[in-house]
């Protein structure tokens, strides 16, 4: 692991990998929003951090100045380009590569996976059984999106451990910027491509409902996708929906485990779950995306130089008191909730309908089977570092 200088000045030398940020970023963001709403650091080659909703929104909409070619801030970059369209794409290529993907993720297209997700949740809950304690992250949340995306891709759900290993290398290792992290990232990408290639070759027809067949049918400007595009998008489909959604499910259960009043209210009023899920997404938004300035620009008047990075801190924007009354409180029946957990503008998370469905179903099934649970205060809750925030462990005591 890289030696990390502790942060002493969050406004001028922030580090989103600092232990204090990883453990509890909210007071840092609240402080910055008031005294220095666009923070800066010269770490990682220079990064800017807007924390107000209006500034995050403006930067997200300014696709002319801020490019998506590097959506992750890290020190050690791979020496080969591994694009994952459309998240790594800019206009004008972005639109066609996104449009070809969108039909697979509409609410109508996601609906058939509601019963699949319910089955998966119940299988995991069967495994927890009548235990007096469990880890809601490791035994439940981390498996739900892995198995759902496997089902959607048309590959064995039992390959989930392989996916989790790739995710670990691509996200945990790379954000920690160990000296060999870039090599590991490239190696994991190649392994994923080889995995998908095997499944492509197995398919004798291309008309199945699964996402691999869907991508084989896809066309870009009327032509078949290039291999680079095809496998890049499949890697994105595998990676993007896994630790993001498990983080959201984990944070929601973590909140309910330490807030009995909210847990009891959802038990009494399960119809409130969709509203509560939006509030969990606001308050514990897992994802921060990065941009790279392709030219000199500004955010809220602060100069950004060409080549510098910007962290679009959607989780910080979601706590902006200028937009949300009692922004620091989790209010599970919050009616007006214009949150930005899935991003803003042309890069809105393409899988947002899938994620939302998985979180809702996971909470519904969990509460049906495990209505009584509290956080086990004797064990620590570990939060992931980097641009996806969620609890890696949620130790629970089960029962009233």
């Amino acid at each position: 692991m890289t030696d990390r200088q502790p942060v002493t000045d969050w406004a001028a030398d922030f580090d989103h990998m600092d232990a204090q940020w990883v453990d509890d970023p909210f007071p840092i963001w609240d402080d910055l929003r008031q005294r220095c709403p666009v923070a800066h650091t010269s770490r990682y080659g220079g990064v800017h951090l807007p924390t107000r909703m209006a500034d995050v929104r403006d930067a997200a909409y300014d696709t002319q100045t801020f490019s998506n070619r590097r959506p992750v801030v890290r020190a050690n970059l791979p020496n080969v380009a591994l694009p994952t369209p459309p998240i790594s794409s800019d206009p004008p290529h972005h639109k066609p590569s996104r449009m070809l993907l969108l039909p697979a993720f509409t609410p109508q297209a996601i609906a058939p996976y509601i019963p699949v997700t319910r089955r998966i949740c119940n299988e995991l809950l069967d495994d927890i059984g009548n235990a007096a304690s469990c880890d809601a992250a490791r035994q439940f949340a981390q498996h739900v999106p892995v198995r759902v995306i496997a089902s959607m891709l048309g590959v064995p759900e039992t390959d989930g451990d392989l996916f989790r290993q790739w995710i670990h290398v691509m996200l945990d290792d790379t954000v920690r910027d160990s000296p060999d992290s870039a090599d590991k990232f490239v190696a994991a990408s190649r392994e994923m491509d080889a995995y998908f290639r095997t499944h492509v070759e197995k398919r004798t027809t291309h008309d199945g409902p699964d996402l691999i067949s869907f991508m084989m049918r896809a066309r870009f400007d009327g032509r078949e996708l290039t291999e680079r595009h095809f496998y890049g998008t499949l890697r994105l489909l595998l990676i993007a929906g896994i630790d993001t959604t498990w983080s959201a499910i984990g944070s929601s259960l973590w909140h309910l485990a330490r807030t009995p009043a909210d847990r009891r209210r959802l038990l009494a009023e399960p119809e409130l779950i969709p509203t509560a899920v939006e509030e969990f997404l606001r308050a514990f938004a897992p994802v921060t995306m990065a941009r790279q300035a392709r030219q000199d620009g500004t955010i809220a008047g602060c100069p950004v130089k060409a080549g510098e990075m910007v962290l679009l801190a959607f989780p910080a924007a979601n706590r902006d008191p200028a937009v949300f009354p009692d922004a620091d409180k989790v209010i599970i029946d919050r009616k007006d909730n214009r949150h930005a957990a899935f991003g803003l503008g042309i890069h809105r998370c393409a899988g947002s309908n899938l994620a939302r469905m998985e979180i809702q179903v996971a909470l519904e099934e969990w509460l049906k089977r495990i209505p009584e649970f509290t956080l086990d205060q004797t064990q620590p809750v570990a939060w992931s570092a980097g641009q996806v925030r969620g609890p890696r462990t949620v130790p629970l005591r089960i029962g009233g």
Binding site: T106, P107, K335, D336, R338
Partner: protein, 80 residues
């Protein structure tokens, strides 16, 4: 605009340039919005049915992209 014009029917429009397909409107008010094959929203009917104005306002206030406009059919002004 005079107050008398305010009693006219309400007009609901989703700006296709702003809508990014979050689908928050459809989740809140499935009868007022329809979703196309790419996931983008539009008003199920331009005129908001009687009794659904509050629901339409709720959708307006939850759209992350400020894409929904609710206005009097008799005016060009926005209610939001």
């Amino acid at each position: 605009m005079s107050d008398s014009e305010k009693s006219g029917p309400w007009r609901l429009v989703v700006d296709p340039e702003r809508c990014q397909g979050h689908n928050r409107c459809h989740a809140l008010a499935p009868d007022l919005f329809k979703i196309d094959d790419l996931g983008f929203a539009s008003a199920a009917s331009e005129r908001v049915p009687d009794g659904s104005i509050e629901l339409a306002r709720l959708a307006v206030r939850n759209c992350p992209e400020f894409a929904i406009r609710l206005s009097h059919a008799s005016s060009r002004g926005d209610d939001t």
